[in-house]
Subunit: 251 residues, 4 copies
């Protein structure tokens, strides 16, 4: 079972334009620092946060209990001009887990409700024995030589975004999620997906976009361990330890 937390800034949209639109640079700094801050606080318990839309962030939080969620909300409330509400859900697949996390929070009112503030809506928490996270770390083969060092910076990010779009479209059908984590890297919480399924997607994308991808897959009791194993698996592909484009490591 995977546990996911939806973190939503309370009534953020209206705040950004009250009384008049706030400087975009300040909003960007606020969003990036809030994300870094939440990442640091969830990471301490083995969680991993993805910036997603910044005002709505999704995190894999197996092992993070109710008290720690509350502590984080309070800590943000004490140091930022905004507050955050959270929904927590669990399921066999990441897609179902975020859906249940979202609906748990939606019950308490809209993201732009003026009443709703610092809600913690827990649909469920994964028990240690059931805790399992599978994460794939996907990147583009030799992007630096083939793109970054040759074509304009924006063209490279255009291609990376295109790949992201294709990956999201194909993975969501399998109940897996896909998040951009910088550079040419993506992380996909993908409980329930097998290597063959991932390989098929990678092959389809190479056909459709002519971009070659590879994926390290990690399996562990929480996001931190799964992500670390995914990194190691990807390193083994890079290092030529395996010729597979999808390589799996488990604890």
């Amino acid at each position: 079972m995977i546990q996911m937390t939806l973190i939503q800034i309370d009534n953020y949209g209206p705040w950004t334009v009250t009384p008049t639109p706030r400087a975009e640079a300040d909003l960007q700094i606020l969003q990036a620092e809030l994300y870094a801050d939440l990442q640091r606080q969830f990471a301490v318990k083995g969680g991993l946060v993805f910036f997603t839309r910044f005002d709505n962030m999704l995190a894999v939080t197996n092992g993070v209990d109710m008290d720690h969620h509350l502590r984080i909300q309070k800590s943000i409330n004490n140091r930022y001009p905004i507050t955050v509400s959270m929904g927590v859900g669990t399921a066999e697949t990441p897609y179902e887990a975020q859906r249940s996390a979202t609906s748990a929070l939606q019950k308490y009112g809209g993201a732009q409700s003026e009443e709703r503030s610092e809600i913690l809506a827990i649909e469920g928490l994964v028990k240690p024995d059931d805790s399992f996270v599978q994460i794939a770390h996907i990147d583009i083969n030799g992007i630096t030589d083939s793109l970054t060092d040759i074509i304009p910076a924006y063209d490279t990010s255009f291609i990376v975004n295109r790949v992201q779009h294709f990956l999201m479209k194909k993975l969501i059908e399998k109940g897996s999620l896909l998040f951009f984590i910088g550079g040419d890297n993506f992380m996909s919480p993908c409980n329930g997906m097998n290597p063959e399924g991932l390989l098929t997607i990678i092959e389809e994308i190479e056909e459709e976009t002519n971009i070659a991808l590879k994926a390290g897959v990690g399996k562990g009791p929480n996001a931190e361990k799964a992500a670390n194993l995914a990194d190691l698996a990807l390193e083994e592909i890079r290092g030529g330890c395996t010729y597979n484009l999808v390589h799996v490591m488990k604890e």
Copy 2:
């Protein structure tokens, strides 16, 4: 003329896996804090940074001179485990400006070169009299009611990413760039584009994706002023001051 700066972390990829892959949470925090830091330092001079790929960031930097670029590089070097190189270019369109900024930097070696460090490659700087920035702030109509509060969080971000993909594809043909800035918001440096062109794109996207967009356009001597005017223009559409889906404000 618009001036753009490409900010590239030196030899970042290899660093992230040396000696072994670093914790993903730490890398995410490092990237987000570096972006927030650069944003704060460029903003002081009226610049605006877009996170782009985090290891490669694009900024609109009209009014930011060589000394300030150097100061920022030194300041990052003093406080982070990594260094950044920068390329600066100018042109009539944002696309051409980032292309010239990229090629200026590429001349000094690859992003993963072990020699290249803290390069500042300036192809050109915009003179105050020629300085002009046009930015469009684009968002999705009523996303909170129609998506955020109803469907799962990931599905909303999937739709936002899809819209981004379509916008990037259409805008690049006009020499304009498109960056996601969080929530359902995009900013497009779009010197040289007229409102009709933008409206056409918005209409096409509504047909293709059934998502209704609107755009506030700001024109000013630097990114800060152009972005602020774009925000105000967007507020006027939201406030019903105009029925146009594209509204322009200039100094």
Copy 3:
């Protein structure tokens, strides 16, 4: 028993002047952000860090185990241009605990040794059953009306520093420590000290400096709980719930 951790930046002095003296502003930012970062990471486990000399910080860390100390060191190493070593000690009094924490670390080499890096030297860790922290939150009566709003800002900080100096001198004789935490506030880890002893010191200082102090004392299993209770105790004095200048609250 109280557990204290000495956090020391490795070989920091030489680094600050290599190759030439680094900008003082950058060093101040680095030091403040490192402190905030460590605070956030220790706080998650109920610890509390005092900035002390910034390159050497003392923390009350009851409940923070070896793994968490290692995780923090690694996380700092991944995001800063410097590394930190730590020594951990336990004792009946805070003074003895920091002494043992210091000697544990000193065994591994000097603060400016070029070899020593990321050492974790643990003399001992407090067992849950023995874990006890007593903290006094001391402040100056009505400083805003009597000083901040009337005399020059520097004169007020001069007086606050003078009070700090007197408090340190008297408390160290009792095996208690004293840290400035901003404004007119001090926190004193003071296991083993009784209210009478603290009251005597407060009375002596009023005689010698004509500055009236008050103290809330908290007793708990870790620094966080003790500090919170100390805050509440101080609030009760401020609120007039008690006429004592020293008020104690325990779990």
Copy 4:
């Protein structure tokens, strides 16, 4: 003429205990990050901020104009749960400058007034031609070998605090200020003081405390340049380029 800015958090004391005392760790993080943030924003214009009491900070701000002060206030307001007011003063000596900065702000109400918010009270701004800053960087000779690596960490900070107390007492009589900047380092804005005066103080302190100090003095048009020169002057003493305990460098 030196220009100094007093930065004061509006109504901070009451905020920290509303509705109940906020976690001390959160307050420490907030204060440290606010200081780092202000430092970064003033540094861009050649200013230098000293943390002083954290809720009240003093900065040397020659060259920082009204617009930049306003921009910083707005930027803080957009990203923190608190706002800051500022007073700006100028004089021949740092002491007089901070006095005039303080009184300028005090006119607008108390630090804990519920009405006062985001005030910018400018008594005066230094004209470029009159702009002059003298800063002394003072440290303790061989503290690492003699203290840090031998005695307990708290004892060293006790000695450093004692030295600070003596330095403050003697320098204020000369119209000079003294701020602790970490480690065994102090910075003293000391316009109007001559090397002999500083040497006398250093000699007196060695007699009284048996602690040997040395001082690099820098003279320049703003705080950044003066501080850098002071650092270089101190390096020359450390390097044995001079046997003087006080060494001066000017632009």
